[in-house]
Point group: C3
């Protein structure tokens, strides 16, 4: 019995020790070293008889087996987690991916920026940001400025924008389809001048000069007091009193009065008195007035879709010098865009209305891309896809072929901000003009190992850019082709 | 007694084990698992009587309590440390934040660069660097070049600069207020031509082209030998012998002779013989001569302060094509600048003389800014502030309102390098021209919820840009307002 | 004996525990705490006699000594490993450092990019990439596009390049020394039109606009089917059927037919039919034709070497607006370039032919460069060097002096891509024009503490840029000078 006690003590202590240390798991080798140690120990104990040793060894095996099972389970969990992260589509953003900057009962501001922190694959657009502004009927968004340049696009509703220059404020009406440039640092306010409809604005933010850092999208609110806080109230009382030549009491009046939040409903007569004086601004203000994306003829239009473009080559748009193009696509319900890519531009697309699908071909990025010593990578592509809904954002980098499809129920309306637009071309894989047909005969036959006419028959069709999606095919097969 | 021995052995071994393994501390849960294990063990020991068990369990509790205290202490220390880091103001740099590149009895070079490694908030200025050069009376800074473009500003003292072109050296006198551009890679030497006074120069370094990487501020010294080392002596002996067509002995003479360090005092006649030949250089040298920041009228001046500016729009300054503005502010003692911000420029400010205060409003950056899924951020601002002393540097990013205040004792002199200056404006919150008064009447009343006259009364005053700080107020309250 | 058993048990358990936990080694202090614990334990065991204690303590010492040896060994290994990493030369790339993108029996594509991930020291060239294309006799590289701008340089052999515009393909012959620009996104194919010789092309990739992210060098292959995969086959079957207005069967024909890989041999008549129609292209195509680097006189030539340059100031080269210079150096066998540096340009050099040496002086970068609080850094330089062989790449950042030496057996041919070339100068330390001689007399004497004539005698020589390396010296000493 004395021996048994020693045995149990020895084993107990070994297990205790193993339990506490096992997290460090030198282990992982096929033959667990702990098992060897444990068994050796059983063997070497002079006071053990054969039965003691057998029991001792069995307990060793049992312990190690259980330990290995625990480890396996942990590793499995870890792998699953990693897989999850890899499967995540970094090119598509839903409502939950936006950050809510302001959220009051009269409106809100959602933002999407610092793309490079979301995925390395978005480094091309790391410096840009997108804000979505929703302002309810007759509400007022208080004056504020950003440290970035912004292009505002009025998606829906009727707005007034006030831009503050050094000695006066310039006001403009914003109609659906209007875009307006807000230079960096300009104090700006917005009004929904409609009594019923919501005002919806997409604001694309750029760094004030090329080569700069990512935009912050932190608004500096000039007005307000303690809640909501004014940027002024941050300064110490003594500084404010000296700068404003005012007593503490006077300052408190100004800084405490405003209690209404950053977006709040205003009276109808206030809306009216904020209406731009049309006669004044067309001539020589500090700021450029709005430009409507429908002012020019569409860049392309057929029964399956229409595309409007405002780019860096157009004058008086406010986009001068920005290397940015705005496009607005209206894809007819049941239609699609051709499979195409931008040669130079990186596209940030905002779904304005309708539903549909997005598919993009993406060169496969192995996760261990950095340790690329003498690595032989086989080139393959994967299919990035998403069901599109209003308010979603998707990103199409230069060179990546993609397609948009409108549902059968509604037209699909997409607003795109295309950066690095200067020498951009859209090249299509199918339709009247396509790069497959543009290949010279011999190269075409070599590339496809097929007679040129056969290749052309596949890629050519009378339509350009927008095609019908569903109408002509009898059968529908949902399964992927490759 | 045998039992007691076993008890002590068991407990001893448990504690030993616990001691060695406790660093790994799976622990941290409320109910310490080690306590449970330890107590279970006491319970299970067949050979223990009740008294043994009680003692065993008490020792368990004692051990675990002490362990938890140790952990708490450690965590507390850690938290304090983290808090410290968070509280650290990333916009202000004191003497201790500079890196000492050279430090001899005759002078030194301090540098500040790689700002983005110091804080993400400084990403806007990540590519720039600032060096401060102190050269004692009649001392000589040996020829060297940088891989960055530099603008030197002569803060104090009388210098001579030698810039080496492909076949000759061009020399210029440097007076207080002179700025001169040193193109990337230009071998340069400096002389303090004064017999008594120290020469103090601020050198602002820019990457040689936009979009480049952060400047290194690693000087390449052409001359010198082994100590201080010449960049030449890095090459292998065989290469040097072939390139210089010289025997090993000849090379040793050249490379060993220089023993004086990188900055050293020189004879008065050497200083004289290095004086620029004035007649030669005004016409058509390789390099642009110095431009004095006081050559032009001040951009603004009143009894409370004066502001000099040299920007990209001025010709013959050497700043052409750099998108950089130099400003020099002299704030009268007891005065302040207005609360204002730069719309586009990021400002790196060097305190040349005097003491005073700096306050800046900064949008609050939550530390966990990256995991921003569906996060609702409330916008608030914090007050960045510092007591200014000569030699300190502070950074003011675009859009951030700030203020400078001179002490009652001395004028506060600040030299600023403003990058991204092209379309920059300074917008003020108070004074003759201010963005609050520039707001149109209705917007003003809505934003402040106050009659427009009341708002104007607060923000308007007859002075512009520089104001008195202390003089008119009777009472002084030190406590912060908000 | 009972005591001995207890002793052995105690010691055994202690060692077991120590063995398992020792990896965590709190240790490292001079006096090992485990030794103290172990010895204290020997001392405190009431049941031990003096002899037991002595044995116990000896075993303690023995155990701890062995443990320390093991640790030392481990640390030594670690240090060696770290040294290796530090010694690793981040400026030189051998064949094994390239990533193999394509490797078929008829050709291959190797790439080198994402330099900043390889070393922080390469941040200056982080956005660029280099691909090497080897295409065997009469082989065809299928049409593909990149999301980056490319400059192709035909190193060896006879090629045809096909560039696909929106509605036609333009073809050009490529001869040795030809460079041609391929705009971002342009579908491109290549043919080796020679029946015997390999075609070797270096392709330098740039982001499509300044300030963009690193180039991906992921090719998008337009043609091909499942293996090799076409970018088209990534799209879902339904999308392809609708976009191409084709049945699933038709699509399968197109996408499955091609089985030949991305580079494959083609028939002689196919090569002939791909020959450019010379009459067509000189006038007004979409793309600029090739420009031969030998079209212009060499920038410099003597019996020891020749340098060709094509830079941003030349017209009709295709490099317009790129801030890039291509140089081609032919260093005569047994000769060397002078020690020199580029003031602004960062150089990516590809060894085309011959063998030789590369040496570069580099400011010492302490590994702990980021925690630079009040750090006093002594400036010293280290020698970066490499044996050059064809296919190797080396990087020379702006400001870094370097030298190239051709072996006695073969001329050394180096193709260089120099980015940020706009205002670049090459400054030499030795030869007819050198910055040492260009120093004015007094500065020269001060810098070297030597008579000016002696300094000039060392640095001046009648040759410029290229010198003989070995011929004039009788003795050769292999050992480094400094």
């Amino acid at each position: 019995m004395a021996i048994k006690t020693k045995l149990s003590l020895t084993i107990f202590l070994f297990f205790l020790l193993a339990l506490l240390c096992s997290n460090l798991a030198i282990a992982r080798k096929e033959k667990d070293p702990e098992l060897t140690t444990c068994k050796d120990k059983c063997d070497l104990q002079g006071q053990y008889d054969e039965e003691d040793k057998r029991i001792c060894m069995e307990k060793c095996e049992d312990y190690v087996r259980k330990k290995q099972e625990r480890q396996k389970h942990k590793e499995h969990e870890k792998e699953e987690h990693e897989e999850e992260e890899e499967n995540e589509n970094p090119y598509v953003f839903e409502n939950k991916d936006f950050e809510t900057k302001i959220d009051t009962k009269d409106g809100r501001i959602l933002i999407l920026n610092k793309f490079h922190e979301k995925s390395k694959l978005l480094k091309n657009i790391e410096n840009y940001g997108l804000a979505v502004l929703e302002i309810k009927a007759n509400a007022f968004l208080s004056p504020h400025h950003y440290d970035s340049e912004a292009i505002l696009f009025n998606i829906k509703g009727k707005g007034i924008i006030g831009l503050v220059a050094e000695d006066q404020t310039e006001r403009f009406n914003l109609e659906e389809g209007d875009l307006i440039r807000v230079p960096a640092g300009t104090p700006t306010y917005l009004v929904n001048r409609d009594e019923n409809e919501k005002l919806l604005i997409a604001a694309f933010h750029l760094p004030p000069s090329s080569g700069s850092a990512p935009v912050n999208l932190e608004p500096f609110f000039e007005s307000g007091g303690r809640r909501p806080e004014s940027v002024l109230s941050t300064f110490s009382s003594k500084v404010l009193q000296a700068a404003l030549k005012s007593s503490e009491r006077e300052l408190e009046t100004v800084l405490d009065e405003q209690q209404k939040g950053r977006i709040f409903k205003i009276a109808k007569e206030d809306v009216l008195s904020l209406a731009p004086k049309r006669s004044l601004w067309p001539f020589g203000g500090t700021f450029k007035g709005p430009f409507n994306i429908r002012n020019n003829n569409p860049a392309f239009s057929n029964q399956f879709g229409t595309l409007f473009e405002v780019g860096p080559s157009l004058e008086k748009t406010g986009l001068e010098g920005l290397n940015l193009m705005l496009t607005f696509a209206n894809i007819t319900k049941g239609s699609m865009s051709t499979i195409h890519y931008n040669t130079n531009a990186n596209k940030i697309a905002f779904v304005v209305n309708g539903e549909g699908d997005f598919e993009m071909a993406c060169p496969h990025m192995p996760s261990s891309s950095s340790n690329s010593k003498q690595k032989k990578s086989s080139i393959s592509y994967h299919n990035i896809n998403a069901k599109l809904k209003p308010g979603m954002v998707f990103v199409v980098p230069a060179g990546h072929p993609y397609v948009n499809i409108a549902s059968k129920k509604n037209n699909l309306l997409i607003l795109c901000f295309e950066v690095n637009a200067q020498r951009n071309k859209k090249l299509a894989f199918a339709g009247k003009k396509n790069i497959m047909s543009a290949l010279d005969k011999t190269a075409k036959e070599l590339a496809f190992d097929l007679a040129a006419q056969k290749v052309d028959k596949i890629f050519e069709r009378k339509e350009e850019l927008f095609f019908p999606y569903d109408e002509e095919r009898k059968e529908e097969r949902g399964r992927a082709f490759v």
